[in-house]
Assembly symmetry: none
Homo-oligomer: 200 residues x 4
DNA sequence: CATGAATGAGAGTTCATTCAT
DNA sequence: GATGAATGAACTCTCATTCAT
């Protein structure tokens, strides 16, 4: 019957609700100020209920990490079908920054925050992180074959490009761009990426 | 009287001790894990004593912010006597990153951390932050006059350069450089700065 | 109808399952660590189901008490057909201790544990407890008639014998016999009962 | 001056107050129902205050254990100057039971309760427990030399005597003596000890 | 000036119990 | 009959802050 499926769906929805409440609160104030009680208030359930869906607070953030990296990696991939190596590289950078703008909470959690999770810090995620890095290097290498980056070391190029976009993303996310008028932010980012191309 | 001065000096020394204990603890684990008790233990005074020198925990971090920005600005200035605009610009970037490496706690506090301080977020500091930004723009403008950055908007250039060095600094500080072997970090940074020059 | 009976039987079986799960868990760690959830997990039913068979947690332990005392009394009775009064008395003691060894959870619950149950503490059970005590006194009286316990008050004798076996049983159950090597436990108990006979 | 001493004394008094509140509550209801809040209410302080004097709940009960065993051992020793071996042995038993009557909470904690403390269960205390057991054996051995316990194994005798007094003590403490009228309790105990002498 | 005892508020987590399905 | 989602109350423990001494 549909009854079982409905339950399944409700269970999923609840997990989603908890995760998205946690993510929302997280983006407001950072990991430590997110409390189980606040999450409960946000979803208008009691505290104990959360523990029916997640073993503990850590598991919530672990799951958010997982999802963040998965979504992130997908977005990166979406650019790979662009033929022109230079265009692809720039699109790659744009997608990176766009992810940070669209999903600031995720970006924060993944690349900026200190997280006290043992599991997160050491293992799993960075395989996904490295896959992205490898993708970047692949794109650079192909740009090199097309004649760009003459005389530049691959590692240096990769590190430079990543630092550049991460710099933009993290300044944006942590509100360190007050000296820049909001309306001129987008063209600024676009301009910056264009500017960097000069170095290719 | 000398007595008065001595008192003044002692007061200052105590404030210093508290601040440096707080900074040390902060760099270990981030804002939330710094407790007044830990600071007190570190300086081997009682908790209450701290409140004789600072109104609350927030004020301590506010003051650390102040000092961080002051020291930061000084370091930036030190580069200004270099004649060659290009060299000066690169030296500027190097100094920026060097500050992050030498004073990771400050850099973290100033440019990465969320601080729950209302005062910090809005006002004071950014005057100092803007001064640095103005300095950067000045250096770029002079490089432009010397023929660099042809066809590049000043704002775009400034934003780009800042993002670039901030990206490097913050990846470094938050340990997101695991895919890079430690020994190759320094040449990598140097290489990156050299790479960026190609865009000038 | 057989249907009714089957239902009856199923109901009984379920109660049994719950009770035996509770007893098992209880013997592992004591009253407070037995949770309704653990019982439910043990019988592989949901928590709510338990409440269809027992009003609350307390009722479960009340029932366990009942059963413990019933079984206990039966075991005591089994000795009554021994002719010789002295032998019967010793067999009585042995049976007592044997019960504690075979059914430590019951013995613990009945004679050692604190139970938060109001009903238990005051009434029902002690009628059964007293029946056992009366049995003990009966046996002693008959031993007296056979010439034992010269000059000893009946109440004193009964109290002494009970204390003795209870002492052995409860030291054993609560693991307070660490100074005694395990292998010498059984002969020790036998020896102790033999020793006590000297006082008869 | 006296100021320091007064502080010292107040600190001590507070620890005492906490310990005695904990002991009182413990004797009412057992380990698990003693909560930090109840202790705090009992001494009319806030919960946090307790943590200024004890690291955690476990430390409180560890300390109570320590004190219990120390006091217990002293009481046992007090009997050793009695010359006559038989009298000494009986006095030993009386002292044992008297401790249980005077300090039922301690006795309970030490010899009856399950305690979840890791430190307690394995090590320290049982050295003290064994010292008492050794004392008992010493007294029995000397009674043997004086002609008592003919043909009885030392270990058996020691185990028997201990079981006997422990039986009395624990029945008394856990209120399993309802069938015995209160007023006849003391003579009963005395009678029981006298009865046991017949076996010597 | 310095102390440290005291607290209130709040953290994460657990559990017996209820009830709509 | 059986479920399992939900809850409220309780648990231990921590912390910034105050204040009498």
């Amino acid at each position: 019957m549909g009854a079982k499926e409905r339950k399944e769906r409700q269970k999923t929805e609840m997990r989603e609700a908890i995760l998205s409440a946690a993510l929302k609160l997280f983006s407001d104030d950072g990991y430590d100020t997110v409390t189980m009680r606040k999450i409960a208030d946000e979803i208008e359930y009691s505290v104990g209920t959360i523990y029916l869906y997640f073993r503990d607070k850590n598991e919530i953030f672990f799951e958010l990490h997982n999802r963040g990296f998965a979504e992130f990696f997908q977005k990166q991939l979406s650019v790979q079908n662009i033929e022109n190596p230079l265009e692809r590289l720039t699109a790659h950078g744009t997608a990176y920054i766009q992810f940070a703008i669209d999903r600031p909470e995720y970006y924060d959690l993944m690349f900026i925050s200190r997280t006290p999770s043992k599991e997160i810090n050491k293992n799993k995620h960075w395989t996904e992180g490295e896959r992205t890095y490898d993708l970047l290097k692949l794109n650079i290498r192909q740009a090199m074959e097309a004649g760009y980056f003459k005389g530049v070391d691959l590692e240096v190029a990769a590190f430079s490009l990543w630092s550049f976009v991460h710099g933009i993303a993290s300044l944006f996310i942590r509100d360190r761009l007050m000296m820049v008028p909001v309306e001129s932010l987008k063209p600024l980012v676009a301009g910056a990426l264009k500017f960097l191309e000069r170095a290719y």
